[in-house]
């Protein structure tokens, strides 16, 4: 570590965000370098002074009373049930085709087994995807698929997959970096016809598990009138949220899902 490195990340050190070994490296440098030492001291002093002297206000008693009243008047929400339907169940089952039923059993069985290990993970991601879809955040990058991929790849620690590459009538509008379930994630904004379609992608938490377990079939999570069709593939979870009224979502995700 040289002086330039230290200067670039003064605050990371001062805020105690360095891991053990890196922090030790910085301290070793500071012991030997009075200029950097002085810089660190000054920045520390400044940040410390702001924290110590920034005025703190409490909520005025009248405002607190109004808040309690508002909460008391709010009806207690009914326990929310999140329906987790295997996506095969969306009107697919009919008497015709035993072969179809056979594939379905395999599909369901596999899906159920895989879901047990990662259900909480994908469910949380699906919920956040639905929230992201209804909140319109600005895009950070627009352009061709290649440009978008390049931007995203440079900023997240997993392999981003553009699910609708080459699909007519589904257009990539833009993307942004975001944070989902405590991890760096990407949000892809598509237009399927004229309906907005949001895809949230994030790496699975379970690194180091066998490859079979890092694949999970598409499942439908419903909340607040929205469906999030979510699958996990090669350790990356993708959650698709479309307009509540758009029945095309399962078909689109089916096209994107290639095990």
């Amino acid at each position: 570590m040289n002086c330039f490195d230290i200067q670039k990340s003064l605050h990371v050190f001062i805020d105690g965000e360095y891991a053990e070994t890196e922090r030790h490296e910085v301290e070793t440098h500071l012991d030997a370098c009075p200029q950097c030492r002085r810089r660190v001291d000054r920045e520390s002093t400044f940040i410390g002074a702001v924290r110590a002297h920034a005025p703190v206000e409490s909520m005025p008693p009248s405002a607190a009373q109004r808040l309690f009243a508002v909460i008391a008047a709010e009806p207690a929400p009914a326990p929310v049930i999140v329906a987790q339907r295997s996506w095969w169940g969306r009107g697919l089952i009919s008497p015709r085709g035993l072969a179809l039923a056979a594939t379905v059993i395999v599909g369901v069985g596999f899906g159920l087994v895989a879901a047990r290990g990662g259900a909480d993970d994908t469910e949380r991601i699906a919920t956040e995807a639905i929230a992201s879809h209804t909140r319109s955040s600005p895009m950070e990058v627009r352009g061709s698929s290649r440009q978008v991929l390049a931007y995203l790849a440079a900023n997240v620690p997993f392999e981003v997959e553009l699910p609708f590459d080459g699909q007519a009538d589904v257009r990539l509008v833009g993307a942004r970096l975001t944070r989902v379930d405590g991890r760096d994630a990407v949000l892809l904004h598509y237009l399927a016809g004229r309906e907005p379609l949001t895809v949230v992608q994030v790496a699975s938490r379970d690194a180091g598990t066998p490859p079979a377990a890092t694949t999970e079939e598409p499942r439908v999570y419903s909340e607040n009138g929205f469906d999030a069709v979510t699958y996990r593939r090669r350790g990356v979870v993708s959650s698709f949220v479309g307009s509540g009224r758009d029945g095309r979502l399962p078909a689109l995700v089916r096209a994107a899902w290639r095990p």
Binding site: T45, P77, V80, I81, R85
Partner: protein, 253 residues
């Protein structure tokens, strides 16, 4: 081998899961025992409200304090704090009891604040680089700004100056500074709250604090705490503010 029963159960039924560890079986209304269900319902609501009070509402003062810095107006601050707690109440089942409630609430507060601001047409606080009167190198080299805190500016950092300075930061910088320096959240927590990568947090926080330094330095020169003659960098160029001061003192303006 076809197991039609399993197929039917697995496919035709919805697999219901109750979200969040907060809800215990007793709080689900049982259709069999209506009387018991009513009792269960009331008890469950009371329990839920009690837990909300002890775990969530307990943070209302810190939320209000930060809301005040963000909105710069007590009425707006009260407004977004109310909206935050209402949302938190409606989604209380979504929150995992015993995990970081303060961060969860701040995420709602920050989202509420940012969404409200987005609706405003014009940006009041788009301070660009050219508005700065001086370089930040000037600030960090000025020893009277930093040394012996008792006698110099930092020791006399008037609280109101700090509030004014933080409140005049552009939103992009104000949010991470409020989260880091008024609330002591970690970079990861701030990233989760702001829904952006940790790298973005570090960059905005760094630049926000730099801007803060410049603002407070300007104040220090203005109020005479740092002598005008000392407000000079290595090349001998004087800050615009200090230059104005000198002209006033000499009687040219």
């Amino acid at each position: 081998m076809l197991d039609t029963q399993r197929v039917d159960n697995g496919i035709n039924q919805s697999i219901h899961t109750v979200v969040g560890s907060a809800l215990t079986p007793s709080s689900l209304v049982s259709s069999e025992n209506k009387e018991g269900a009513m009792g269960n319902g009331k008890a469950a609501e009371a329990e839920m409200r009690k837990s909300f009070e002890t775990e969530a509402l307990v943070h209302m003062h810190v939320l209000y304090n930060s809301a005040l810095y963000l909105t710069r107006d007590p009425t707006k601050a009260e407004d977004i704090v109310q909206e935050t707690f209402l949302k938190a109440f409606r989604f209380w089942h979504r929150y995992e009891r015993g995990t970081n409630c303060k961060a969860w609430l701040f995420r709602i507060l920050t989202n509420t604040f940012i969404n409200r601001n987005r609706r405003k047409q014009h940006q009041q606080e788009s301070m660009d680089a050219t508005e700065r009167d001086y370089s930040s190198a000037l600030v960090s080299e000025n020893s009277s700004f930093y040394e012996s805190p008792e006698s110099t500016y930092l020791g006399q950092l008037f609280p109101q100056h700090i509030r004014d300075a933080i409140e005049s930061l552009p939103e992009n910088f104000r949010v991470p500074v409020v989260l880091a320096d008024l609330n002591d959240f970690s970079y990861k927590e701030i990233a989760d709250i702001m829904e952006c990568p940790v790298g973005t947090v570090m960059s905005r926080l760094f630049r926000g604090r730099k801007r803060l330094q410049e603002l407070l330095f300007d104040h220090a020169v203005e109020t005479g705490i740092i002598r005008v003659e000392d407000a000079r960098d290595e090349e001998g160029t004087v800050s615009l503010e200090a230059y104005r001061e000198r002209r006033k003192v000499v009687g040219l303006d």
